[in-house]
């Protein structure tokens, strides 16, 4: 159909990393230029030599996008998912004309607004009112359009009382609310959104999701990048899963989310190992899923407990760290997230060495079905050291339960006649 709103054809983007990019000062560039005949000579000489490293320069180049093509129809709301570094953000940056493609082309029909961040261009010395105008025009509105929407924006943000106060006196939550309110009132034909819902409190996030649903209802085309699978499946009908710079799957959103969620799992093997990396401070080396007898297995009865065994290595002394697990449904819904510090807030501190940790998950907790397991290791509030996303796919068998909930923990029911 010719009624597309976004057409992406054979889009590729190459980034140069390493050697060539380090010429950040003019002196280095001149040095590079002076020595370039020598390097050019070497390179040319290698053309006739078929030794191993004939194109060592290849290592300096990464392809963030490789030959990506798709059409998005007018009014479609499409979710883009994938791991970090899969090319999602690069794609959005090209579509919003922040960076240029190396090859291929994009055709966009209509006015485009991109929301890669909330509050771009906010200036702390300016008041809320002034920042609304500044931010609105940066996002592509005209002054008249901001005028028309001004009351609505202020109302939505809930910071009316402070609208003539410089933004530097705002709490960070208020700043985000105001910034998002501006963004939420954009009315482009095409809206590109990158993970901006990850800010703000839950109530405000919900308000924003609702606003985005409205936007979608008015026939606008929306491209939405997120790691929040439930937001994606709530907003979008179609999903595109990007992997390693390519489109791995494109289709109905639930199908694509499922394919993505299962992609990391070694479905058949309950024991996974990872090759050691000596540069990492800490690393997860292996994960095993064991049944109640200690036999590795991915299939358990839902009324029986099962265990996870995590092997990890500290290459240095590590202060205040913790390990945790997430269990997701294939649709990306988070069933539970627990860490070793949940109960008493105690973090671990250990010297270098190999450690093994066993977590027991009780029976009669989670409803039968397919689940995906993530294991992570980090220092809370400081950094994440290792994360194995959706690494095991576990099946819980048992009698089927009716009802929506995922938790089947037996409750006590006491009846009395009074």
């Amino acid at each position: 159909m010719s009624d597309y709103s976004i057409r992406v054809e054979n889009l590729s983007k190459r980034y140069r990393i390493g050697v060539e990019d380090t010429r950040d000062t003019l002196a280095e560039a001149i040095g590079h230029w002076v020595t370039s005949p020598i390097r050019n000579y070497r390179r040319l000489r290698q053309l006739t030599k078929f030794s191993g490293d004939e194109n060592s320069a290849v290592e300096d180049i990464i392809w963030a996008l490789k030959d990506v093509s798709f059409d998005i129809d007018q009014g479609e709301v499409v979710g883009i998912i994938g791991r970090n570094g899969a090319g999602k953000s690069t794609l959005l940056k090209i579509l919003s004309r922040i960076t240029h493609p190396t090859s291929g082309s994009v055709t966009l029909k209509g006015r485009v607004s991109s929301l890669l961040e909330v509050g771009t261009g906010f200036h702390p010395e300016l008041t809320g009112r002034e920042n609304i105008y500044l931010n609105g025009t940066i996002l592509g509105m005209t002054k008249t359009e901001v005028d028309a929407k001004f009351e609505e924006i202020v109302e939505f943000s809930g910071v009316r009382k402070f609208i003539d106060t410089p933004v530097k006196f705002y709490s960070s939550g208020m700043g985000v609310r105001l910034a998002f309110s501006v963004a939420a009132h954009l009315e482009p034909e095409i809206l590109l959104v990158d993970e901006v819902l990850a800010v703000g409190d839950a109530e405000f996030q919900n308000k924003c999701l609702g606003k985005m649903e409205d936007v979608a209802r008015y026939g606008r085309t929306v491209l939405f990048v997120s790691h929040n699978m439930s937001a994606i499946s709530r907003l979008c009908k179609r999903g595109i899963w990007m992997d390693d710079g390519r489109v791995a799957e494109d289709g109905p959103v639930d199908k694509v989310i499922q394919a993505y969620m299962f992609s990391g799992a070694t479905e058949t093997n309950p024991v996974v190992g990872f090759s050691p990396d000596h540069d990492a401070d800490a690393q997860i080396l292996g994960i095993e899923c064991l049944d109640l007898l200690g036999t590795p297995s991915l299939v358990h009865l839902s009324q029986n407990p099962f265990s996870l065994k995590v092997h990890y290595r500290l290459n240095k002394e590590l202060i205040n760290y913790r390990l945790g697990i997430n269990i997701y449904t294939p649709a990306g819904y988070e069933v539970l997230t627990r860490t070793n510090s949940d109960l008493d807030n105690s973090l671990w501190t250990d010297g270098p060495g190999d450690y093994s940790l066993q977590v027991d998950i009780p029976g009669q907790l989670i409803k039968p079905g397919q689940y995906l397991l993530t294991v992570f290791l980090g220092q809370p509030g400081i950094r994440q050291l290792d994360k194995k996303e959706n690494v095991l796919s576990i099946r819980l068998d048992g009698k089927t339960y009716t009802g929506q909930g995922l938790i089947i923990y037996p409750l006590k029911w006491n009846k009395k006649r009074i």
Binding site: P101, L108, L116, E130, T137, I138
Partner: protein, 283 residues
Amino acid sequence: MAEKKIADRALDITVIDPSVRKRQLINWRELWQYKDLFWFLIWRDIKTRYAQSVLGVGWAIIQPVFSMIVFTIVFGNLAKVDSEGVPYAIFSYTALVPWTYFSTSLTSASGSLISAKNMLTKVYFPRLVIPISPVLATLVDFGVSLLILIGMMFWFGIAPTISALLIPLFVLLMMLSAAGIGMWLTALAIQYRDIRYGLNFFVRLLMYGSPVIYATSTVPEKYHYYYALNPMVGVIEGFRAVLLHTRAVPWDFIGIGTGMAILFFITGALYFRKMENVFADVA
């Protein structure tokens, strides 16, 4: 309703591809569409430049006035530099007004892309807005220091000639030069941080290459044409000629200077267009 609005606008098609040459040198239509952004950025520059400072816009006066005082003591009284028959103070201040504008514009233009890095990597807008808006915002400082100049002319009892009507022309030439060189510096500065470090030094050297503290009459006649390649020579001499009537309007300096300013502007825009593709990647 919304459906219809979208259908009407459907003609507005954007094609993104890697070719640079197909694009026009300066997309005036797009700049016009973003005129509100232009205005708000200029206004933000002006409003926040002296925010949380006691003297506020007084700083726009202090810099040229104190330079004038120091120059008058050192060059006017001690070194006895020839000031072509007018008091040295107003002789140097007349030059300092356009010169301070020029150097401030260059300094803030060269830093503009780096300080706008966050905007640059998060949202699209015509990149030219960034180096051009300081060139316009600095006009406020220029206007304030010009008022002081008028006050000084009263004080020294110097009346401008009718040719003072040429001043808008000199201002345009001054802005054109600042914009052209500003585009060059901005595009270079985002990749080579050397520009920022070297600029203050370079601007100071360039001041000695412009008739700020001395008169052009002290430059040997045979070098005049090379000397005039610096567009600020024509601007400064023009200001002196029409306000202090030290000489006839130096059309030769102004002509050469205008040619150079146009050259800087066109090559600056070309280089800027070539580099703007990679701004977000190297910023």
